[in-house]
């Protein structure tokens, strides 16, 4: 056999092989269609799925979705009543209200005494006692009112529980 004949023969054999492979590929079913060995040839980096954001609403079949705004109120007693109405345990409701009353008191006291903050350096330079800042009758009266309001709010929380 001469060289030309050998090359032509090799080419014909390769073409036949390619044709056979194409024919087999066309007949290959999709992955998972039937059992068999599958080979994964690439590396896949898996990402943990992010926690789905907590839904803003809680859907109970057969009832309209619950929204926090429905029970939220700046009126402590009303807020407490609403908490109890949706089945919040009384102890938990009281804890929530106690914390809210304390936060409210702190914020309002801070606002009330804000003007005094500006006087800190003058008081320090004069060598006065800082306690004296609070000894203004009007301020004392305001602070007393604030304290009384806090006491009433806490008493209301307790009374509502009883």
């Amino acid at each position: 056999m001469n060289l030309r004949g050998y090359i032509l023969g090799t080419m014909a054999a390769n073409l036949a092989l390619v044709g056979a492979l194409l024919w087999q590929g066309a007949r290959m079913p999709g992955p998972g269609a039937r059992g068999g060995v599958s080979i994964t040839t690439n590396i896949v980096t898996e990402f943990a799925p992010e926690a789905a954001p907590r839904p803003a609403v809680v859907s109970v079949p057969g009832s309209p979705p619950f929204r926090w705004e429905q029970i939220e109120s700046t009126n402590h007693l009303l807020f407490l009543t609403n908490l109890l109405a949706i089945g919040c345990p009384p102890e938990t409701a009281r804890d929530i209200l106690d914390a809210r009353v304390a936060d409210d008191f702190r914020a309002r006291l801070r606002e009330l005494t804000r003007p005094l903050q500006a006087r800190f350096w003058d008081v320090a330079a004069a060598g006065q006692k800082f306690d004296e800042l609070f000894e203004e009758p009007e301020l004392e009266k305001q602070i007393d009112l604030l304290k009384a309001e806090r006491t009433r709010a806490l008493a209301g929380v307790q009374g509502c529980r009883a």
């Binding site: 350096w121 320090a124 060598g127």
Partner: protein
């Protein structure tokens, strides 16, 4: 900690504690509030003597600026946690103090800086505050202070002099008290000196006398001579 000695790992923990405090402040407060806190800590921790009541003419705005100088030369958060001594070697702390004093001297000028230095001394504060509103001039007050300070130093030397017998010490101290009494009365005037004695007469007498325990041990009568 091993037998009261801080190990390197302890220091790391203390440093972490201090840094954690700073981080917690940063989480809970605005940057301007953290800065104000740092300055107020400086004012309350190391500048208590720096006030008009102690003879230092300073405004609130000036005091805040001085507090900034102190906060920039000291770790106020470490001080607030009482960790300053552990976290910084004595040499470094001394450098910080020296730097602050130099900055303070430049900020206030020589005269007011001298006022600040005097205000640190309890003897001066006692003289100043007790004679307040008694018409005592600053020059007279300074004169009285120098006499009072010199007497304190002389009394210390007399007490420490091992060559002296107890009787000699008593006599010398009694003479010193009489001499100082005259000097103070002359400087402050009768009204001012009376006001001073009314508030600090006991300390004045005791500081220029033998310690009571020593006199009791010697079975001696008190060598105290009433000054008024």
């Amino acid at each position: 900690m091993t037998e009261g000695i801080l190990l390197d790992e302890d220091l790391l923990k203390l440093q972490a504690l201090r840094d954690g405090f700073e981080a917690a402040l940063a989480r809970g407060l605005a940057p301007t509030e953290v800065e104000e806190l740092r300055l107020r800590l400086a004012a309350l921790e190391g500048l208590g003597h720096l006030q008009r009541r102690n003879g230092v003419e300073v405004t609130g705005a000036e005091l805040r600026e001085i507090a900034r100088l102190r906060a920039d030369t000291h770790d106020m958060l470490a001080k607030a946690l009482d960790l300053d001594d552990e976290l910084y070697p004595a040499g470094l702390r001394a450098k910080g103090e020296a730097a602050f004093n130099e900055l303070l001297r430049r900020f206030l000028g020589a005269e007011r800086f001298a006022d600040v230095e005097r205000a640190k001394d309890r003897l001066f504060r006692e003289l100043l505050q007790s004679t307040d509103n008694q018409g005592v001039s600053k020059a007279a007050l300074l004169q009285a202070y120098e006499a009072r300070r010199a007497a304190e130093e002389q009394a210390r030397q007399i007490r420490a002099d091992a060559q002296l017998s107890s009787e000699e010490r008593s006599v010398l101290l009694a003479a010193l008290r009489a001499q100082t009494t005259q000097a103070l009365s002359r400087s402050l005037g009768p009204v001012g000196f009376g006001a001073y004695l009314k508030q600090h007469g006991q300390q004045f007498t005791n500081s220029l006398s033998l310690p009571v325990t020593r006199m009791q041990a010697l079975g001696q009568r008190s060598d105290v001579i009433p000054v008024k």
